[in-house]
Structure formats: C-alpha cells, structure tokens
Symmetry: C2
C-alpha cells in the first residue's frame, strides 16, 4: 500500500463553509456529485460489511458505485481516507441514535460505560464493517490526520454527552482521552480475536472508573 505525497491539489474539498450549513465543512458539491459521494460511501460500507478491510477493494467500490476509478480517487484520495469517511458517516448515525435514548446510569462513569457498550453492541452486529473502519482508523498515517481527528472529536463529543458535562475540567478531558484510547485498542483486540466480548466490557468498565477519580461529585 504505497503512500506518497500528492503535490497537485485535487480541487474536491474547497472547504467553503456557508453560514447556514449544518455540517462543519461541506465542499460545494453539485447534486450529482453529492449523489456520487453517497453511492461511493454506500458501496464502501456494503463491501466492508461483507468481508472487512480486505473486501473493500477500490476497483469494486468504483464499479458498484458506478464511478470510474479515477473519480473514486478524486473523492477519496486513498482507501484509508474512504474508510475513515465511512466511519464518520456511521458515527454520525450512531450519535443521532444515542441522542434519542440517553444512557440511564446513575454516575457519569456508568453512563459512559453504558454508551460505549451500546456502541459496541452496534459494532457487533456488523463485525466486518467494524473491522474495516477500525483498522483504517489505526492504520491511517499523517495524510489522513484531519479526518481521523474529526472522528476523534466526534467520539469525544459522544462521551462528553454521556457524562452530561457542559465544560469539562482538563482532568476530565484527560480521562476522556484515555477512555478513547482504551476504546480503540480494546476494539482492535476484539476484532483480531485476542479478546472476548466480555473482556472488552471489563476493559471499558475499568477505564470508566477514571471518571469517578476526576469528578467525585456530580449530578
């Protein structure tokens, strides 16, 4: 998987944000372009659901989304970019779902653990898709940093939501970072068959104890 510099900037993501736009940044795509992008992401998720990271083959994605290979690469400059974008997509969906049914736990730690376990169960329903997304996320090199960072921020928001905090202390943010680390790494051990579901649950519950450590009293 060769990764080189991309000197000639591809004009696909001009990041021109209009005031009214909901999303953080949206290149001004025409309708057909938006449709193409959707088709690509859909094909990606579909192939990933079948056979995980390896099953997402660029030629196949191009074919099943009815787009030329070159076009696919114009939209997503690498397979990892594509899969990370797929993850962003899924995360948004998940965040929406979680918002509707906030976790019930008494303490912040419980709520976070509950939220993550809910996400984990969702991933278990599509383990191959999870594999593709998580592997892409951790394999991503510097060229994908912005996108990976975006995923990370989104995850942070979800966890802070679960904690029910408006403005967390630095200590709490550190705890959240560690929780995210554990979350990603635990997923990997699960996906590669080195840890059971039960073990992941324990790990999540264990890190979440850190929250109590940083905020002994809360709502």
């Amino acid at each position: 998987m060769p990764a080189q510099a991309k000197p000639p900037a591809k004009p696909v993501k001009p990041v021109k944000v209009e005031a009214g736009t909901v999303r953080t940044d949206s290149p001004p795509l025409t309708e057909r372009q938006e449709a193409r992008r959707r088709r690509i992401l859909h094909a990606s998720a579909q192939l990933a659901s079948r056979g995980g990271f390896d099953a997402v083959q660029m030629r196949e994605v191009a074919e099943s989304s009815q787009v030329a290979l070159g076009t696919l690469y114009r939209y997503f400059p690498s397979k990892v970019h594509l899969l990370v974008a797929t993850m962003q997509d899924q995360l948004e969906h998940m965040h929406g779902t979680l918002r509707k049914k906030p976790p019930q736990g008494e303490t912040a730690a419980e709520r976070v653990a509950e939220t993550l376990m809910r996400a984990f169960r969702a991933l278990q329903r599509e383990p191959h898709l999870a594999d593709a997304m998580v592997r892409a996320l951790t394999f991503a090199d510097r060229s994908v940093s912005p996108e990976v960072d975006q995923v990370s921020r989104q995850t942070t928001v979800i966890i802070l939501d679960a904690m029910g905090l408006a403005d967390p202390t630095p200590d709490q943010l550190s705890a959240v970072r560690v929780i995210e680390h554990t979350w990603h790494s635990a997923l990997i051990t699960w996906l590669s068959g080195r840890a059971s579901i039960a073990q992941v649950k324990i790990d999540i519950e264990t890190v979440c104890r850190l929250i109590d450590l940083t905020a002994p009293d809360e709502t």
Copy 2:
C-alpha cells in the same frame, strides 16, 4: 495488502521445545538458519529505522539480508509478521535494559509511568522504527494473533515488573490491560502526528492513576 488463507503449513516453526531452552519456544533451526533469521530481522529493523512501515519493502529486506524472497516468506509469512517479530526482538532488548535500572518512583503508579516514559523516550530516538512496529501491531489481523499476543504478554510482564507485583489481583490485571490499551493507542496518535509528546505523557500519567484505584496500599 492481500491476506489469504495459508492451507499448506510451512514447516518452519515446529515449536519443539527442549527442556534446556531458555526461550519460550524455538524451532530447531540450524546455525545457518538462525543466522539467516538474524540477518532478516536486522535488515527489517534497519529499513524500518530509515523510513518506517512503508520503507520496509519485502524485496529490499530479502536483498539486504541476502536471502531469496521465497525464503523470507518462509521465515515470516507476511510483512506484518516480520515487523511484529522485529518488535518482539526490540522488546526483549528493552526489557533487559529496564531490568538493569528499575524505576525509582514511590508508588506503583509512578513506577509504571516512569517505565513507560522511558520506553517512550527510546521509541522517540527511532521514530520510524517505532512507526513500523506499532503500525504492524495494530494492523495485524487474526493470522498474526499468536505473535501479537506474545508481544502483549511481554508488555504485561514489563508493567507488572514495574509495579513490583508477584501475583496481581484481577482488578490490577484489568488496570494493566487498560494501561496497555492506552499505551498503544497513545503511541499511534503520536506517530500519526495527532498528539504531542507532552500529550502522550499526560495520557500515560492519567491511566496510571488507575493503579492507585486498584491497590490503595502497597510496598
């Protein structure tokens, strides 16, 4: 990076342990085979030190270790296997170094943090090598599980050593697991340029607090 099944078992690692052997398992390699293996690992580490994961190209490894490509693949069935083996090698070395100068901290948490920071500084000296090894580790799929597991066990031993525990409680083992998760994931964020060295330090110190949580009193 295609990954397929390997039905015809390659007879390279018969795992025939003799009573007197120091290592956990050593296939009965002839001297020349042992030498080849060393040359390969050396070439791998050298190339990795130059340019990280991408710079370790199987053809080049084969060439600089004076071995045919087919032979390289007989010794290490994939690039990831090779890099994980390289990591095992380095870890052993590091464990030796750490044993000589045990950490000085008062509490177990301090000692673990100190140990990990020491390891982190070692990695900083060879960031490309670190990149190659860590990326391989997290990208490894099920076919590499045994080897990755071995690395994980070795890491656990190092952490338990730092804690100074003979037989840890289940709670403590959970904490160690979470520390390892954080360690790996924090390294990745550092390697991909999404977190600073200072941030990694904070993350490590933050997880290490979990140790105090599981053992308020200790030597």
